[in-house]
């Protein structure tokens, strides 16, 4: 099974497998037989890698595994492979915010020229008796807000336009 870890800012991909008698960590540098056995103390283990045993303390956090090894503490961040491999899919967000359905503008929170951050609510629309907050798909500068409060708009109308990003 695949995992991507980040150690000291460097990402490393590895796969764990089991050859019937022991665990094997498959790294770009080769296959490493390994084993981890608890020793009874909280978070205490014996880590065997390539046949060499050493004491470690470790704790598994929500996003990282913390390892105390040889007098040093390390954080091994766990990266979601699907997310990591998706690359910069999010950064190609469009400059244009398009109406998902026809409706009315309830409120406008920004004006042209405003510096905005990704996820910031730009305007609130009402349609089908529901108010929806439209959020910025990326950070940048507002170029245009074509509709004002109370205006109605049709499907796929442009509700906000961001200034194009500079490369």
């Amino acid at each position: 099974m695949q995992r991507i870890f980040q150690i000291n800012g460097e990402e490393a991909e590895c796969w764990l497998s089991h050859d019937g008698s022991e665990m094997v960590l498959n790294t770009p540098d080769g296959a490493i037989p390994c084993q981890l056995d608890p020793i009874g103390t909280p978070g205490g283990y014996v880590l065997r890698v390539r046949g060499r045993a050493q004491d470690v303390r470790l704790a598994v956090g929500p996003d990282a595994t913390f390892v105390h090894l040889n007098g040093k503490t390390y954080a091994v961040r766990r990266v979601d492979p699907a997310e990591r491999l998706a690359g910069n899919e999010g950064s190609a967000a469009s400059d244009r915010l398009v109406a998902p359905m026809p409706g009315v503008v309830v409120s406008v929170n920004v004006k042209p020229g405003d510096q905005i951050e990704e996820g910031q609510p730009l305007l609130v629309i009402e349609s089908m008796k529901l108010e929806t907050s439209l959020i910025a798909p990326r950070g940048g500068v507002v170029a245009e807000i074509p509709f004002a409060e109370g205006d109605s708009f049709g499907l796929k109308a442009t509700l906000a336009l961001l200034a194009p990003e500079e490369e």
Binding site: I7, L25, P42, R57, G61, V67
Partner: protein
């Protein structure tokens, strides 16, 4: 003026440390806790925990009326302020005095005087103690150049309105003093819209040395020797030790007696610290006086054998000093490491997280003053310092060795800490030889944060094997297929 119940108006490791001594002295004890604050070691030691409120925890700990009211409500007859928060707040001292609660510390007048850096400096200079030569243009613009020349070389020209190093110029001899003053003025105008300047003596590779003093407010002052605090990052100390490796016995006596003299001059009451800037040539100048217990006081306790908090409480209770100067020894060597939740490789950015596993080092002459508990959370609500690790040994080399062993065995998992960085400092040859200055960490930034031996395969193995879901997934592969391995027909 006996004290029977003490409120500690602080939190974290210092609250715990003060409470321990107070309890040992038989006092009833209480400590504060903000509504959103997690349980810490202090809350387990105190007899009573007083809940305080405020928009943020820090606001609550600075809320004088609320804390004074709390002290009265629980019937505390004394308040120990710890360090930080209200420890050097004259208004707090005055408010306590007004309701008849003893403040464990100096008078509000002394706090006021020492809290004003310019007044303090003038006071000290006026009593004949050494301060760094300087010249302020505003004092008398007409004689600024003359007065600057009198400061001596090298000197540093700074814009009065400045900051961040902009417009600062070092002048090493007289030939270009005037042209540099003009350049600095133009830069000051350009950067800050203000061309006024001041000049001070430029001390190359200075050290920060401070002296612990204690006065009874009756004219008796003793010192508890010096502490060397040159290991600083972002102007904050992270390693302190005593004795200072820089001082000869003569210099030591001189600097300690100077400090005691300054304390005596203000008829100091309680624990205080006089800080000096120490130049490579052995000269030293008064920097400021801290009118409270310092973070790094434990190293002093380790070499003198005195409990400084006990001394503070004695003095506050009117019992006076427990020792004369001659009875205060300086035995062996002590080092303190400040364990902070921060990322030394990312400009010391504070780190947050859950403390998943905490295992403090133990052993002979190893002391941990901790403000955290396993299972707790580290947030950005407070200072990133989690605890202090203090060791003592017969000499400096042994103390360094003991500190390294202890910090290597200090297990804090779940939040990034500076333990590895502290160990790297201790391991540095310049630190071992004592050849450091306040610029040491900045100068050695790269060396100190260079990752050591690559153990990423071990770390990956540990992370993978402790990932229960991953291991479970792997073991779900039918045993036969696992045994066949990567077979291909």
């Amino acid at each position: 003026m006996t004290i029977s119940k003490l409120l500690v108006a602080n939190r974290g490791e210092i609250a715990a440390r003060v409470l321990r001594t107070a309890k040992a002295r038989g006092l009833a004890t209480a400590v504060l806790r903000h509504t959103s604050e997690q349980e810490g070691p202090a809350h387990r030691i105190a007899d009573e925990v007083v809940t305080i409120e405020g928009a943020t925890p820090v606001v609550a700990y600075l809320d004088i009326p609320q804390i004074v009211e709390a002290a009265q409500r629980i019937g505390a007859d004394a308040v120990h302020p710890g360090y930080g928060f209200l420890s050097e707040n004259a208004a707090f001292v005055a408010a306590l005095e007004k309701v008849g609660v003893t403040f464990v510390g100096p008078t509000s007048e002394v706090i006021d005087l020492m809290g004003d850096k310019i007044r303090a400096r003038a006071f000290v200079e006026g009593r004949g103690f050494p301060v760094a030569p300087s010249a302020i243009e505003d004092d008398d613009p007409a004689t600024f150049v003359e007065r600057s020349r009198a400061v001596g070389y090298p000197l540093l020209i700074k814009p009065s309105a400045g900051g961040g190093g902009k417009g600062m110029r070092v002048v090493r001899d007289d030939s270009n003093l005037e042209s540099e003053i003009e350049t600095a003025r133009r830069e000051g105008e350009r950067y800050f819209g203000d061309g006024r300047l001041f000049v001070e003596c430029y001390i190359e590779r200075p050290r920060h040395i401070e002296v612990q003093v204690m006065g009874d407010g009756q004219g008796n002052v003793v010192h508890f020797w010096e502490r060397e605090c040159s290991i600083q990052r972002r102007f904050q100390k992270i390693i302190e030790e005593t004795p200072s490796p820089a001082l000869t016995p003569e210099q030591r006596d001189e600097i300690c007696e100077t400090a005691a003299g300054i304390a005596c001059a203000v008829n100091y009451r309680g624990a205080g610290t006089v800080e000096f800037i120490y130049a490579q040539d052995g000269s030293f100048y008064f920097l400021e006086m801290n009118t409270r217990l310092q973070v790094e006081h434990p190293v002093t306790e380790m070499v003198t054998g005195f409990d400084l908090v006990a001394e503070q409480l004695r003095i506050a209770a009117g019992e006076g000093l427990s020792a004369a100067q001659a009875d205060i020894p300086q035995n062996g060597h002590s080092i303190e490491l400040r364990i902070c939740a921060e990322d030394a490789t990312a400009d010391f950015r504070p780190a947050i997280g859950d403390i998943l596993l905490l295992d403090e080092p133990r052993g002979e002459a190893v002391r941990v003053d901790s403000g955290i508990l396993g299972g707790g959370k580290v947030t950005t609500d407070f200072d990133p310092m989690l605890s202090k690790l203090i060791v003592h040994a017969d000499d400096r080399a042994q103390a360094i060795a003991r500190a390294r062993e202890a910090v290597q065995n200090y297990v804090i998992l779940g939040v990034t800490t500076n333990t590895g960085y502290l160990d790297a400092i201790l391991a540095h040859p310049d630190f071992a030889s004592g050849d450091v200055s306040t610029g040491f960490l900045a100068e050695q930034a790269e060396t100190l944060t260079t990752p050591g031996k690559d153990v990423s395969d071990l770390l990956m193995a540990a992370a993978a094997l402790s990932d229960e879901r991953l291991v479970n997934d792997v073991m779900q592969i039918p045993e036969m297929h696992r045994k066949m391995g990567g077979w291909r027909n």
